[in-house]
């Protein structure tokens, strides 16, 4: 069971990396997305990271 989990997790890393590289390769196409202007994306990413950290701390084992 644990071995299967490991394999699936590894597969996930491949899927995620592929999607990330695809986004990087399509950079010029994404440049026209309004949410990706520097001001909006800086705030959006900061809220995403901060909110995620807050949630993960809430569920962290102590």
């Amino acid at each position: 069971m644990m071995k299967n989990s490991r394999s699936l997790a590894d597969l996930l890393s491949l899927v995620g990396a592929t999607a990330l590289l695809w986004m990087a390769a399509s950079g010029t196409a994404f440049a026209s997305v309004p949410e990706l202007d520097p001001g909006s994306s800086a705030t959006g990413v900061a809220v995403l990271l901060g909110g995620t950290a807050l949630l993960l701390e809430r569920y962290r084992r102590r």
């Binding site: 490991r6 990396a17 695809w22 309004p34 520097p38 995620t52």
Partner: protein, 553 residues
């Protein structure tokens, strides 16, 4: 191999110092960083400009292939990280290991770069960047770039190091190549996906508008949809494909990172859930854009349009995280959140800044351009700080002259290094916004702006960056880490993220490092707050004196 390094102390500087060698591999760092000014110089050179103007052909394929090669290298490093990290540590432990010829390799690199510059200059001068000559020049340039890259890599780390890395990680190498090829194929195939997704989003918006009782106006041939009073064109960029890609990337990263705490394969359901949710929310976003545009077109187009995507995307991401932790089928752990006597300690440090950021996203919808609703950010931050007043009161508070001095340094460096994007236009927008305010309101707004800059922002940002992040990058149990605990990763990492948030890489990095230095000196967070408040107070005085309002953006 792994056993050989298990007994080593955690920090590289400590270990190397014990071995009696230079605590940091400065030569390798310097050579590694050499490629940064080279790439910057090349991207601004006439050669790069000429390459953009050449007709499309296999040259474009070559350039795209170069990008995929780099991406595959990064993927290989990620997939084999544990092994690569061990190999790096072992090589650094013995600086002389396999490394006798680094000067030769550096010479090869510099020679190739010099030839590349000279050849590019010559080709531009001779007007050679036209087909079919452009293709030959590109092939020559690619070969030289390859030589330069090999020379650079071999001068940073010995060739034997790279060969060992490849030899010990055949699966990671194969996976990286597959990822690079699949990503390239996905890029080609997704051109068709964009138009298909745009079509489905278009009809989804029309359907949703009818469901809420609106009279719908559609022009399918131009992808225009809306109501008689306000309609929008669903462009390819509005198809939602970037949200879908981001959800896939972040969900995969999250599931992989927390794989030991989650139940596989059930938890994989979150990926299609996330994709479906973000696509539907994108449709809701466009409908909301149309509805808002009917009575406030400016807010809809200039404000909501650039903010709504992040609001919906972040909501989806947070919902997926909560689902992965609260649904028993997805989690191996107790589904109930951790309960401690002090509650969620991170909230004390993160919530004030999150309140400011969330308020700024909301105010940007209704006040695009000049932020006339800035006081709401101050009120939001003050409300959260008041909520946590008991926890914050426990932090020791006293002012030190050194903290004020570090704040002054940060201010001077900010003035010298901060680079605004189109500062003249920003100043004009700000001046117009102030002018349009009633005479009674303008001083009150300015008072809130200064109060926010000098008090609520420094407290909120220092709680988040120095109180939480600086210590979180040392240990997961950040609350047990002393403020005086220095590591390069936490020092530079927290400062770099501070710079990224402010959109000022160099000025922000130096400011972040100054505020971190204030914390390290006495081990008190209040010193960082004082330094930050001092810098912002001086900046406010400078802005008011010079009317260079762009510095406040």
């Amino acid at each position: 191999m792994a056993g050989a390094i298990e007994h080593l102390p955690a920090g590289l500087p400590h270990r190397s110092a014990q071995a009696g060698v230079s605590p940091w591999p400065w030569r390798r760092i310097a050579v590694a960083l050499l490629i940064v000014p080279e790439l910057i110089a090349f991207s601004h050179s006439p050669t790069a400009g000429a390459l953009h103007r050449v007709p499309k052909g296999w040259l474009v394929g070559l350039l795209a292939g170069r990008r995929m090669l780099l991406a595959s290298f990064v993927a290989a490093a990620i997939f084999s990280w544990d092994s690569l990290k061990d190999e790096i540590l072992i090589t650094l432990e013995d600086p002389l290991r396999d490394d006798a010829n680094w000067r030769v390799w550096l010479g090869v690199h510099l020679g190739a770069v010099a030839t590349l510059i000279a050849a590019g200059w010559f080709a531009v001068r001779m007007g050679a960047f036209v087909m079919p000559y452009a293709a030959r020049w590109a092939a020559f340039g690619a070969a030289l770039s390859g030589v330069a890259l090999v020379g650079w890599a071999a001068s940073v780390m010995p060739p034997a190091f790279w060969l060992r890395w490849v030899k010990h990680n055949p699966l990671a190498m194969a996976a990286a190549v597959i990822v690079g090829v699949v990503a390239r194929l996905a890029q080609i195939l997704s051109r068709h996906l964009w138009s298909a997704l745009t079509g489905s989003t278009f009809y989804g918006v029309a359907l949703l508008l009818r469901m809420i009782g609106q009279q719908v106006v559609v022009q399918p041939e131009r992808a225009i949809v809306g109501t008689p009073r306000f309609s929008v064109q669903v462009a390819a960029a509005c198809s939602g494909i970037e949200g879908i890609a981001l959800v896939i990337v972040l969900t995969c990263a999250y599931l992989w990172f927390f794989r030991r705490e989650l139940r596989f394969p059930q938890v994989l359901m979150l990926i299609p859930f996330g994709v479906a949710a973000i696509w539907m929310l994108n449709t809701v976003r466009i409908v909301a854009l149309i509805m808002l545009g009917q009575w406030w077109p400016a807010a809809s187009i200039e404000g909501f349009h650039s903010v709504a995507g992040w609001l919906f995307f972040n909501s989806t991401a947070f919902a997926l995280i909560v689902a992965s932790r609260r649904v028993p089928a997805f989690t191996r752990l107790d589904a109930a959140p951790a309960r401690t006597r002090a509650g969620n300690l991170a909230a004390v440090y993160l919530a004030p800044l999150l309140a400011i950021l969330a308020a700024s996203m909301v105010t940007r919808i209704f006040a695009p351009g000049f932020d006339s609703l800035y006081p709401l950010r101050v009120v939001a931050a003050a409300a959260v700080l008041w909520t946590y007043r008991k926890e914050l009161a426990a932090l020791p508070i006293n002012v030190s002259i050194e903290a004020i001095g570090l704040g002054a340094v940060a201010f001077v460096m900010w003035i010298l290094l901060a680079r605004g994007h189109d500062a003249a236009a920003q100043n004009a927008v700000f001046a117009a916004g102030m002018h349009q305010m009633p005479e009674v309101v303008a001083p009150v707004w300015l008072g809130f702006r200064i109060f926010g800059a000098v008090l609520t922002v420094p407290i909120a940002e220092e709680l988040a960056f120095r109180g939480y992040l600086l210590r979180k990058l040392v240990s997961a149990e950040f609350e047990k880490v002393s403020y005086r605990h220095f590591t390069w990763i936490s020092f530079l990492g927290s400062s770099a993220l501070f710079a990224a948030l402010h959109g000022q890489w160099l000025a922000g990095l130096i400011a972040g490092m100054s505020f971190a230095a204030a914390v390290y000196r006495r081990g008190r967070l209040c010193d960082a707050v004082v330094a930050h408040a001092t810098a912002n107070a001086m900046l406010a005085a400078w802005v008011l004196a010079t009317h260079n309002w762009a510095l406040w953006n």
